[in-house]
Symmetry: D2
Subunit: 422 residues, 4 copies
Amino acid sequence: METTEKENMLKSYQTVRTFSEQLVQPLNLEDFIIQSMEDTSPPKWHLAHTTWFYEKFILKEFAEDYQGFNVQFDYLFNSYYETVGPFHPRIQRGLITRPSVEEVFEYRRYVDLHMADLLESDKPEEKKEELVRVLKIGLHHEQQHQELLLTDIKHNLAQNPFLPSYQEQEKKNIPAAGSPSFVAVEGGLIEIGHSGEGFCFDNETPLHKVWLDSYKLSSHLVTNRDYLAFINDEGYKKPQFWLSDGWNTVCKYQWESPLYWFKREDEWHVYTLGGVKKLDPDEPVCHVSFYEADAYARWAGKRLPTEQEWEHALASQKIEGNFAENENYHPLPCGLNKSGPFYQAFGDVWEWTKSPYVSYPGNKPYEGALGEYNAKFMCNQMVLRGGSCATSSSHFRPSYRNFFQPEKRWQFSGIRLAEDVR
Amino acid sequence: METTEKENMLKSYQTVRTFSEQLVQPLNLEDFIIQSMEDTSPPKWHLAHTTWFYEKFILKEFAEDYQGFNVQFDYLFNSYYETVGPFHPRIQRGLITRPSVEEVFEYRRYVDLHMADLLESDKPEEKKEELVRVLKIGLHHEQQHQELLLTDIKHNLAQNPFLPSYQEQEKKNIPAAGSPSFVAVEGGLIEIGHSGEGFCFDNETPLHKVWLDSYKLSSHLVTNRDYLAFINDEGYKKPQFWLSDGWNTVCKYQWESPLYWFKREDEWHVYTLGGVKKLDPDEPVCHVSFYEADAYARWAGKRLPTEQEWEHALASQKIEGNFAENENYHPLPCGLNKSGPFYQAFGDVWEWTKSPYVSYPGNKPYEGALGEYNAKFMCNQMVLRGGSCATSSSHFRPSYRNFFQPEKRWQFSGIRLAEDVR
Amino acid sequence: METTEKENMLKSYQTVRTFSEQLVQPLNLEDFIIQSMEDTSPPKWHLAHTTWFYEKFILKEFAEDYQGFNVQFDYLFNSYYETVGPFHPRIQRGLITRPSVEEVFEYRRYVDLHMADLLESDKPEEKKEELVRVLKIGLHHEQQHQELLLTDIKHNLAQNPFLPSYQEQEKKNIPAAGSPSFVAVEGGLIEIGHSGEGFCFDNETPLHKVWLDSYKLSSHLVTNRDYLAFINDEGYKKPQFWLSDGWNTVCKYQWESPLYWFKREDEWHVYTLGGVKKLDPDEPVCHVSFYEADAYARWAGKRLPTEQEWEHALASQKIEGNFAENENYHPLPCGLNKSGPFYQAFGDVWEWTKSPYVSYPGNKPYEGALGEYNAKFMCNQMVLRGGSCATSSSHFRPSYRNFFQPEKRWQFSGIRLAEDVR
Amino acid sequence: METTEKENMLKSYQTVRTFSEQLVQPLNLEDFIIQSMEDTSPPKWHLAHTTWFYEKFILKEFAEDYQGFNVQFDYLFNSYYETVGPFHPRIQRGLITRPSVEEVFEYRRYVDLHMADLLESDKPEEKKEELVRVLKIGLHHEQQHQELLLTDIKHNLAQNPFLPSYQEQEKKNIPAAGSPSFVAVEGGLIEIGHSGEGFCFDNETPLHKVWLDSYKLSSHLVTNRDYLAFINDEGYKKPQFWLSDGWNTVCKYQWESPLYWFKREDEWHVYTLGGVKKLDPDEPVCHVSFYEADAYARWAGKRLPTEQEWEHALASQKIEGNFAENENYHPLPCGLNKSGPFYQAFGDVWEWTKSPYVSYPGNKPYEGALGEYNAKFMCNQMVLRGGSCATSSSHFRPSYRNFFQPEKRWQFSGIRLAEDVR
């Protein structure tokens, strides 16, 4: 590495690390411990696990004579890498009070110190490249966990019947703007996947050919106002709009609205990271599952886009919008947020696509243990695109593939409609 | 309808109806009642439900003054058509002893009589076309249930610790033949979906363009011998070969082999519809889940084909092989069974693909209640191709898309490997 | 055995055996197979298991050269005797279609033949006594299963949404009679347990001293009319009347009335073995759990009696009433049914006591495998006393202890109140 | 109240309150939050709930113009009093991070201040008596929660795979002493229940007559050495020793030893509040369920005593032993700990009896909401007697009835055997 690259890498590392710690500033120490459900993790765990990732895959591989901080952490803070050793059951992460939160911060400082040493040391060129390659994964990994920190903190705090806020928000006055329309997009034999210089995950490669018929994509995200019409038309009571698994899920959990919606004195309210507020009809609908997105689309006489349609239409817009660094931690009305035909292309809410999460043709997962990073989840999950108000813009690129099971709702997930050209 | 078409339709109807009743000939009356798990249904239920389908969607629509056989049957024998009325919970089908089996056979005779009358009556041309359209769906529907009759009877009887056989089988002496090789298939911008004249389901349409990279597909199905090597290499104990959901499933159910395999005095045996027999290493492996198929492929350094790769490579072979009408009810060694480069292209075992079950671009489900036939299951399921030893060849075409959840194993499901061209 | 005793035993045997078969006369063959829940068993299983009991504990012990009918039956028809070998899981009894019902009847004939031979043969006196001892257990065992046959058939048929009847019943016109009052019973140092000559189970012994304070016991059973007042006072919605476990059960199953009650056009109806009928307010309330009995008593400002209070007060009344041989299979209004101060002392409904099922002081369970008959269930169950409309009077004696878990409702179980003398 | 009584009450109050806070001294703040299973509660919750008890049942009843500390606490810290209002689901106590631990301590100080004011104020005599009555309940209530604090902290910390200790313990060298023998106890018409002057719970009354046959009771508790013989004889694999529900529990949870036992390098170790140590064969066996106690007794050819036998034999011994104030928090070898024929009569371990927890004849629960304190749990639980190493001696009296479900093991529960006099 040349000095500049060295400095850049170290700076990137420090920026990412600092942001994680900034995100947990508003918490009480008690808030670091709990785990509201199997999908979420305690903030303490996120802080430790992201640190363990560097220790395991970088320091122990590249730093000479590195001594692990605590031998127990390999067991406690490995998430799911079966090939590197046994790990604590996910469902029990909220029952681990030792190490203390303070000790986890010490762990972070310890690893940060050794990472700085390592990044400043001289290495043979070949090693360097590999180091930088894994480090970039580590940083993007931590950024993913920053998003999860926000969504998990929200879900954790929402278990409290008195719904405490994470961080107060001033009221914004952002107007809705524009008239929703379906924008025609020309198909053909196009290319999908990551092609540029920058970082991407293994699941975004290779760049590959796909045939697309021409289609239309909505200029706007579905808003709370739109979605209320579905609710008021008894959308949650009519099986004809739902996938079979979706209908079973609605019945099982007695869903009647998106997550975090509730009625108080007959008016819809929502719980946000800024606390409880009245539902704003101009905001994009959020915290819906794929099942709800799909049912809404069917009710509206439209459909969800495929991930290829989404990428093909939106990849050329500028990466700007309501991201985590804006510190809204909640989607906003669209205002004038667009750099092309599509409002709120990036940020605000992840957009459910109708594409199951599968590997691209010819895809090769990472070598070794990191091959478990993405590939083994390619089943029973749906792709979401576009980033959210909890995603860092520096973590995002248009080829980014997020994925969750179709019943999951605790992410900032919303809807953009598509339709066929007839 | 002209006389000939009339006669043909009636003949087809009678042929299909007769085959259902032939399939239950070997059963005791007691065997008609039970349901071994939520996925299976009692034989009695299959016989009644397929009959209800004609009554509900044909006789009540097209036959003047038709009187339903029994008003309770709309509730008891509707499977999952939410839009036509409430239905008995699937999980409780095995607790319904009334109507008796004899009454269900009466129901069949009653409906058959009215169907014959209807098919022989004169109708305006427009009505006729619609009638024939729905009737064909009804017949293919019953043929699907004929396959389920066999797989469900097998699973039901297997609950008995003494493993009674459904129908004894003479031992065949079919050699394995040929040497497995990976056949190169040229890709390009090709067409997928149903195009011919004959019947197909709504999920096989429209014919549409797809880009395929060139690839290779195995000339042979994976055999029990092949699969034993995976077992003996501790494939069921090594998480690195498995999808995350697959590994959880292996652990949850403590899978150590395909369904219906067990060891007796240290030798592998299998339960078949002909009773228990020693495992034949030359037979195609069968009763594996998608998870097992996928793990086997990863262990073998290969992958499963997509459904498009499968269809593109195999669609031109002749539709012949080990189908239900051969009455083997079990896959056989390949012998010389091929009409092109691929052995056992059709029949024997359904072949898991790596394609999640989604709608084709531009697809339109059936209008009305029959729209629930296929479309609402397009989530969390994987496509299988090729038909099995429990499928009627008259029910099959190369564009046929079967689909099951990735953990399901009670169908005759097996494996054909693919690989990328590097 | 002398000739008379021999003849008597054989006659008793034949009487009991015949009654089992009489009870299943009204069934379709299909009805013999199903099992509606873990607590119930298929009629076929009851017929076979009671037969196996003689084969296992008598023929194989006392008859020379006896050849078992079918070696598989030891596994299939052992209920829960861990010490005699492995047995089929209870929950899966309804999935066994082979042996056929016909084969089970053959099994009965085969065992009956050998039992007749054995009972007519000459045996050394010592053997005889032991034989008679076990035979009496076998006969009372079969009589217990006769009661279960009725309650299980009822529950099985009730799974059918169209609620078929087991056997039509003519309408009786039995008046309610008498005015309910609390009869004072003098306590003191009394004796409890079986003392007479006749048969009793091991759990009724030994006769032992118990101190009882004086108390009062209701002359009448709680009627449907009484119980409706509890329902109408929102008894099922007020936790203060319920044991903690009872309230959890009410919430879990959303109980709002006794089992088999439902409203049709705003009027209460009940499902009986004679089919659906309007609720008769004069009948004793039936199919209530211990939790409901206890909550009703608390609501009424009374309590349930202990089993000792029950036995001390009622043991001297005549054993007559509405038993199984009356073929009502449903409790009746009290009419003039009493031989002492207490109406409906025996028969009609089992009366929940407040006594947990524990062993009497100094009790010795049966030796050997039959020690599992009663003793191992002495935990988490409550004692019921008095017999029901499904009990044979020849099976009953006042020291009889029935027992079920406090949430169970499918037996003919009702309520008689007690109160302290203040 | 006279000044002295006033002072005594206040002093008792302060002593009890201080001890609760002393017990949580060794904890990290993180340890206050978690709940390892439905039976346990977070330490924070115990501290708040015991405080709420005084606020709800004393300050709001007896203190003029008392203002509640926080209106949300009625919902959060009511345990199970249905009649005073809704409460947070027990299973979710470990997901409540707000109020903070510090706020809970403030709550304690606030309530303590008001309690001191109230106890020092002048009241009409009638009010005073009622106040003292409820206060004593409140203090004994808090002492019960002190025991639960210890058992719950132990269970919480045991979820950590590295088994942190709560408070290090010096090694004691206490010899085993005496030779176990069965001490004959004369029966007859005796009296059971609380009779003295001091405090008791409603469930210990009234004093009442019971007939007891003469019996024998072991001079010693069952030790780890004794219990190991049962394990080594495959006691956990032989159903004949177990109650039916017990055997199901063994199979379901795959029990092979008492809770907190595990093997390390083939040697038995136990987890204690002082950390992991080798199993000491001389200590009383501990953390066994009723099922295990009962199975052990059956294996040993003995039985458990009834609670009446226990009370009759032991009530006259001095209340001394290994109690919570000794700060061992673990049972010790018996040494010379006896004041009569029975070693370790009190303290060390709660002794399972064979008596289900039911009300005494003529018992009246507390009036009003406190009637829910004990009475509603009188079902499906077994009585334990004698106190443990986690019980305060000032909380104990020989008529004390503890009760838990028969499968529970996280209390310090052990075994003393009895036998019949033949």
